[in-house]
Structure formats: structure tokens, C-alpha cells
Amino acid sequence: MKQNEITQSFDVIIIGGGATGAGIARDCSRRGIKTLLLERLDISTGATGRNHGLLHSGARYAVTDKESAEECIKENMILRKIASHCVEETDGLFLSLPEDDLSYQSKFVEACNQAGIRAEIIDPKEALRLEPSANRNIIGAVRVPDGAVDPFRLTASNVMDAKLHGATILTYQEVIKIIREQNRVIGVKVLDHKTNEIKSYYAPVVVNAGGIWGHNIAKLVDININMLPSKGALLIFGHRVNNIVLNRCRKPADADILVPGDTICLIGTTSSKVPFEEIDHMRVTPEEVDVLLREGEKMAPILAQTRILRAYAGVRPLVASDNDPSGRSVSRGIVLLDHATRDGLEGFITITGGKLMTYRLMAEWTTDLICKKLNLSAICTTATEKLPGSRESIEEISKKIISVPLTQRNSTIYRHGDMADRFSENTPLDNSLICECEEVSVGEAKYALNELDVNNLIDLRRRTRIGMGTCQGELCACRAAGLMSDMKKICTNRAKADLTSFLNERWKGMFPIAWGDTLRECEYTAWIYEGVCGLTSSSKK
């Protein structure tokens, strides 16, 4: 490890590249604050990239947590405007099955109305007409303004806007030390995983936006935040069986949300406490898979015959209130801690709790506090100013890239909104497809490699959907690796090592559900990469 003392000064340093960190970077930079965001891996690698992608209406929380419900519906309406290219306005149905208590429905609708959420009881027949994949035996249905949101795109757009406003975003930089001067935080020391160098950055305010990992970041300055890692497992199906979000109309429980997104749909989640030692190594167990399937099939019976693509799990950063060390009274609400008042440590803020839906509000609160500390009076604009990608209508963008083949045009606009014309040189070479499942072209991959902070194949997957489709990276992984080395983004040794880790990352999500067609696909992948191509895990070296 090289000790390389590069020092740079900023107004604020944000630790964590999830939706919250990216949102804070956007808010700060728009308010004229000199901002640095540090992420130890890639953006969206924590809980941000490991959830349902549900644009909550708040209905789920209406009965149990009115405050969260109100926050949700407000942010829901804001995201539809500022992040239209990341959002699908699908609506949601809360279904009552014969085994559910129908009297819960009226309580549910009343709570929704009180929280400001439009909730409309509809005839089960009407519900089935709207969503034919729903269980034919439902006895009740309520329509709410749920939707789907792509967290990868949302975070990437926030990062893009932050950069446009002068923020510095550095990925693969792990904070290993928080530098303090008496009772004041003045900067951080990071390990650059790309060069193995140690660097120092200075700023009068440091924000801990590390999600569940924020627990360990606070520990660097001996501050204890009473966090409770809560694992949630989900399954991705290979088809989009539903077009409307399906929920169970009962007290929130396991596997009662089915969300459509892109070409797929997702069932989740489970909820179980896990120890901190495991948060970097989430594995989905056969029991979790069984619960998700059993419950999912109750809402949409067709899931029993639908191929599962992948199983994965995220960790929610739940926080117990400070006066409750037992951790029984956890909230899903937003937790903003000013460590100057809480712990007597100036210049250090922790933002945690909350959820993807409220990332923008969390960023606003945090940035307000940062401004207070920096004696600035700039106001927040993130609720009204649209994100890059959402600034033009689909019709306008379509016109600009009209000569790109239709299906490809639709996919790229779906994924990149008004940024789609950035990568359309529209030559036959750029239009040729790397990934057939998800219609990712050479041009799109090149754009991501050049402009979206992509360091490896897994990063590229998060920006484009390469390898996210039915085949889970059969041939596209190799093609993308080839492209990366051709573009001199990485040397061929790195490209191959990258391919190895990409395949292992895919496998991690596949083996918990590897039977039927998924196992066929796994066997084929093994034949191609291990058999024909001769890749081994020692290709890393």
C-alpha cells in the first residue's frame, strides 16, 4: 500500500454513493457548495440497488406509520415530475385473498385518506380486468398510486446532475479514517481501491450517508449509532407478469409485494435480523426462496410457471431510537443526527434510516443542516428541477434518434431518457447489439464507459442492464469485456479478471434458484466460459 498524501479541500465530504449520498451531492452542488462524494465500491451497490424498485404510494405504511406514509406520497409525486425517466406510473393494487380479513380493507382505506393517499376500493372483477395476472379468487381490491422506480438510473441521474454542478464523485474509495482536530472533524483518509494509494481529503463538514455501513463509519470516531441490520430477500422473474404493482391488503408481512420493472418483475421481501459481520456477504437461503415463491404465487398464480432469474438480498439500515438500547422500537423514518449536539463532535453528520422513496427528502434535510453549519442560506431546488434524462418528453427524444432501430430506440429511451441521443452516433457498428436480451448496443455501452463512471463489467451492468436479462450474461459479458479492452479502458488481463468476477457475481444470485431452465442456463454458461473459453478462477492472477 502506497502512502500518497494527496490533499484536497472541499466544503463538504459525503461518504456513501447510494441514492441518499447521490441526492445530497446533487442538492449541495446545486446550492453552490463545493462537494466531494466518496464511495467504497460503485454507486448503488448497497441497499439502493437491492430493493424492490417500488415507487411507494405510502399506502403500505398508512395503518402502522402515518408519518412515513405522508413522506412517501409527497416524494412519490415529486419523483414522478423530476425523475420521469426512472419512474413507471403503473399504479398499485392492494388485494384481499380469501384467507385475508376483509375488514382490514376499510381501516386501510381510511388510513390512506388521512395520510393524503388516494385509495379507491374497486370491484374485484374490475381489478382482474386491470391486472389479469392477479389471483382470480380475490375478494377485495384497492387501487393506490404506487409505481415502479429504477434505483440504478435514479442514483446515476443524481450523480450526473451533481457533476454538472461541479461536484466531484469518486468511486472505489474507501474511508479508512476520519481526521479530527480536538472535537472537530476536518477530513477523511481513504484507500483508493483502484491504485491502492492512501489519500486525504479535507472539509469542514463530513456526512455519513453509508446506509447500514454508516454504523462502521461512525465507529471510526467512536460514535455508536444503534443500528439493526435487517435483511430482505427478493426474487427476480424472467417475465413481466404484472403491469400494476400487487400488494396484499393486510398488515405488512413477508413476500407481499410484486413489482413490475423493465422486462421483469420482483417479489419480496423477507425480513430478518442479521449480524453486522454478515452485511457484506448476503446469501439467500432455500427457506427464503420457498417463502417468496409460496406467497408470491398466492398473489399471481402464474409465478409458479415463470422462470426465476435471480435471488438477491439487501440490508435495511433500521435505527433504534437513542433511548431504547434494546432496539425494539425501530422506525422506518428518517434519522438525521447532528453529532455536534448529540456527541459533542463538530463537523460530522449522519443521515440514515428512511428508504429509497424518501432519499430526496433525506438529502434536503441533510443539506439544510450542512448549510446551517457553513452559514449559507441557499435554498433547495431538487423538488422542482428535473433530473438529467427527464427533461424532455419521450416524443421529443424519439424524434432526435428516429433512425435507430425501433426496439433499440425504445430500450435506450426507457433506460436513459433524454440522454439517449448522447450515444447515438447511429452508425451500424455502434448500433450492433452486445446484449440481445436487453437490447444494449455498442453505442450505449461506449457512452456508459465514457461518461457514467464505469470501472468494470458489474458497474456497466448497473448503468445499462447488460447481463441482467434472461441469459444473465451468457455472451454479452464476454463481448462487453472485449469492448472494454478495445477501448483501452482496461488491459486484457483486467478484462479477463473482470469477466471472472462478473460471472461469479451472477452465479451468487443464480445458484439459490438453480433448477429447471435456470440450471440449463447455468450449465450452458459453464460450458462456454469454463469449457470453450477456458476461464478459471485463477484467471484473476
Binding site: 457498428l429 486484457t492 479477463k496 471472472t500 462456454i528 478462477s537
Partner: protein, 418 residues
């Protein structure tokens, strides 16, 4: 429909047993549901690269007794040492006899070049593909690598970097013809087989000669991705003659042009010997009399049975659905044969994708003559061959093609000796 032998599965093992039997006068039918593993072949056939414990194997014949000790249900163990030796020689003669030109022999493994540019040991390699005799260096010093512009399934840079480690210095070139422009207009068309169709045409081959001649002045040889020779075999010989330099092919990502050509060749040899090849049909169920299979029914033929003396099951493993896994078990769908597998699903996999995966060694149980069984009772006239067999790991041991070829020939001998 009556046949002497009914073969289910039209891949390597099905075709080899079919050719072997029909050459000796038996009336055979092959019922094939579609593509086989040959469609994504490397262009080489492996015999034995590693023992089950991971020991590297240089000379397969010398390692076979140790293999039998380590893996008693391995298909090679069922053949036994002497039969294994005899069959490897027979297999090489078999390919020569049906005019499939190959490099390599059973005495010692040679090395094929992977699409990544690395070397991997193997037994037999189709002609025109580049090989290394010793696994340390290549027979060429300054080759020019020519890829088709925009062809994403061949990686000149990977190959160049790997070859440099072996002292071979490549130069990278690209090929572009007007005929290729048409392919490029459709974003999904630049794949090996489509390109190969272009290079089946004489006028395009002539243009290729001009490009190669003009650009290979400083090269001692020429390397092309395996995108020629889909429907004709003379292209590389013709290029060699015209350009007067050694010309080699390297495998691409699938589909595999050399593999598909081999499949087509085997199929036509089978048909020339009187075999009936039914493509696009799936066998659904069987009827038994005592410990014999009497007839089988297929999707396309409805209630018209296939009646035969002997049956060969060459349906492959999971990919081709010779074996099917659900959450509880691994089963064989046509006859519901006894299958060797671990009951606990969590033990089917290793969490590192490149480690040995137990599911890959599951397969149908057989006796030492590859006859199948159900509930422990042997069927006298049902044999299994190839990837569906139990007791071996084709990837870790590097023995998939060898098991297919040798077990197919062995079964054919058994049937003939009845």
C-alpha cells in the same frame, strides 16, 4: 415404425453410435429435438485433462488406472483400462474413415487455443484450427490476426496479449467487404454463422484473398476467426494456396462454425449409410414389456409408435433436457430412470462458479455395459451414452467429448454382439 435401433438424441454420441451401427448394416433412426453441444463446440474433443482429484493428465492412457481407482462409477471406469485404450484408437480411425480430418492422438494431449487466446489440453482438434504441441509455444512467430469489422464474438486483443507471453507477436487487422455491410444493418446479424454464409460464396472469398494478400506482407502466417467452412470445406485450403502462407482458424464464441459443420457432416454420413434422421421431434414416453422397452412415442408422430430391438438414450444433460431438475430432485423425463444425485438441493452447487459443481456429475445410473435401470431393475435393451451418464465432471476432468464418443462406440459394439 420399426427399426433395429432407435437412438434418442442427435448430438455427438447419438450420431456416432448411429453411424457405427448403420455402417454395419443395422437399420437405425435418430430422433433429435434440435441443436446439440456441437453447436457451441471449441472445435476440439477432450479425452482426459485432469483426474477427479485435480491432478493434471498429460498422457490419458497412463492415467486411466488411477482414474478408475478415484471414480469407480466414471464411464471410463465402466469401460475398463483395456477397452478404453482400444476405443481411443478406434475412435481416431473412425474419424479418418468418415473423412473428418483431425489433429492429435491418444498418446499425449496437445493444446487447443481458446477464444481468450489461452491454451487448453485436448485430444483431437479439427483441421485448420491452430494448436500447440507442447503447451508452451505456437508454431508461428508473426501472425496477422484478421477479424471482421464489428464482429463482437472474437477478441483479437485478448489473443494478441496471450500469444505474446508465448513469444508470438501478432499484428491486428480488420476485414471489411461490401457483402458484410448488409449484415451490419441489422444489429443482431453480425454473428459467426451469418458471416460464414457470406464466406461460403466464391466472389466474397476472392475479395477476402485480396484483403489478406495486401495486409499480410509482414506476417509469417494468418489467423482468422472460425467463420469459414460452414457448408464447404475447401475455403482455408484455397486461401492457403492463393496467399501462399500458413492459415489458421481460432474458435469464436458460439455458435461454433466448425462444430456445426461437424454436426452436419456426421449427420450426412449417418444418412448415407441408410440412417433415418428425424429433426425437431421429441420423445415423450415409452412402453415396456418386462425388463425390455418395446416402443416409444414422440410428439410429432402421436400414436404411431417407434418399435425397436434396442434403444439408445443420448439426450444429454440439463441443457438439452436429458436431465431435468426441480426443487426436489433430478429426473430423467422419458423413462423415469434411476438418477444419481444428492437429495439436498443446497449441496448441488458450490458458491464459487469456477469450483467443481456437484450437479454436473449427476446422471443416470447404469451397469458396466451402460444399460439403464429403474428402481434398481436393469432394462436389457436400453443404453445411455454421453452427457446424461453419471459419475463424471466433463468440465473439471476435461472428458466430455471423450465420454460421448467412447461410450457411444462401446454401446454400438454391445448391440452388435447380441
Amino acid at each position: 415404425m420399426k427399426f433395429d435401433t432407435i437412438i434418442i438424441g442427435g448430438g455427438l454420441s447419438g450420431l456416432i453410435s448411429g453411424i457405427y451401427l448403420s455402417q454395419r448394416g443395422l437399420q437405425c433412426v435418430i430422433i433429435s429435438s434440435g441443436q446439440s453441444a456441437l453447436h457451441f463446440s471449441s472445435g476440439s474433443f477432450d479425452l482426459l485433462n485432469n483426474l477427479p482429484d485435480g491432478t493434471n493428465v498429460q498422457k490419458p492412457l497412463d492415467a486411466i488406472s488411477e482414474l478408475i481407482k478415484q471414480a469407480p462409477t466414471h464411464p471410463y471406469a465402466k469401460l475398463g483400462e483395456n477397452k478404453f485404450k482400444a476405443l481411443t484408437q478406434q475412435a481416431e480411425d473412425f474419424f479418418k474413415n468418415i473423412k473428418i480430418s483431425i489433429q492429435g492422438n491418444h498418446e499425449e494431449n496437445h493444446y487447443r487455443v481458446t477464444p481468450m487466446g489461452t491454451l487448453k489440453p485436448t485430444w483431437l482438434t479439427l483441421k485448420n484450427l491452430l494448436i500447440s504441441e507442447n503447451g508452451k509455444c505456437l508454431p508461428i512467430q508473426h501472425p496477422g490476426i484478421f477479424n471482421v469489422t464489428g464482429f463482437l464474438d472474437f477478441y483479437s486483443q485478448f489473443i494478441t496479449d496471450e500469444f505474446l507471453k508465448m513469444g508470438t507477436k501478432c499484428s491486428i487487422h480488420s476485414i471489411n467487404l461490401p457483402a458484410l455491410e448488409n449484415l451490419r444493418k441489422n444489429p443482431t446479424e453480425m454473428r459467426s454463422v451469418n458471416i460464414a454464409r457470406i464466406f461460403d460464396k466464391q466472389e466474397n472469398i476472392k475479395e477476402l484473398v485480396q484483403i489478406l494478400k495486401a495486409e499480410s506482407k509482414d506476417c509469417d502466417s494468418i489467423i482468422l476467426p472460425a467463420i469459414t467452412g460452414l457448408n464447404r470445406e475447401d475455403v482455408v485450403d484455397y486461401l492457403r494456396k492463393e496467399i501462399n502462407k500458413p492459415i489458421y482458424l481460432l474458435p469464436t464464441l458460439p455458435p461454433s462454425v466448425p462444430g456445426i459443420h461437424t454436426q452436419q457432416k456426421l449427420r450426412s454420413v449417418f444418412q448415407q449409410n441408410g440412417g433415418v434422421y428425424m429433426l425437431g421431434d421429441t420423445v415423450l414416453r415409452a412402453e415396456m414389456k418386462g425388463n425390455r422397452i418395446s416402443q416409444i412415442y414422440s410428439f410429432n408422430h402421436g400414436n404411431i409408435p417407434f418399435v425397436g430391438q434396442n434403444f439408445i438414450l443420448a439426450t444429454g444433460s440439463y441443457f438439452s433436457q436429458g436431465l431435468i431438475a426441480n426443487t426436489e430432485r433430478v429426473y430423467e423425463p422419458i423413462f423415469d430412470l434411476d438418477v444419481t444425485f444428492t437429495p439436498n438441493r443446497t449441496q448441488w452447487y458450490n458458491s464459487d462458479v469456477f469450483e467443481s459443481q456437484p450437479y454436473q456429475s449427476f446422471g443416470v445410473k447404469t451397469d458396466n455395459t451402460f444399460r439403464c435401470m429403474r428402481e434398481g431393475k436393469i432394462f436389457e435393451n436400453l443404453y445411455a451414452t454421453g452427457a446424461i451418464l453419471e459419475g463424471f465432471n466433463p468440465l473439471k476432468e476435461g472428458c466430455g467429448a471423450g465420454v460421448s464418443i467412447l461410450s457411444a462406440m462401446y454401446i454400438a459394439e454391445q448391440i452388435l454382439s447380441k
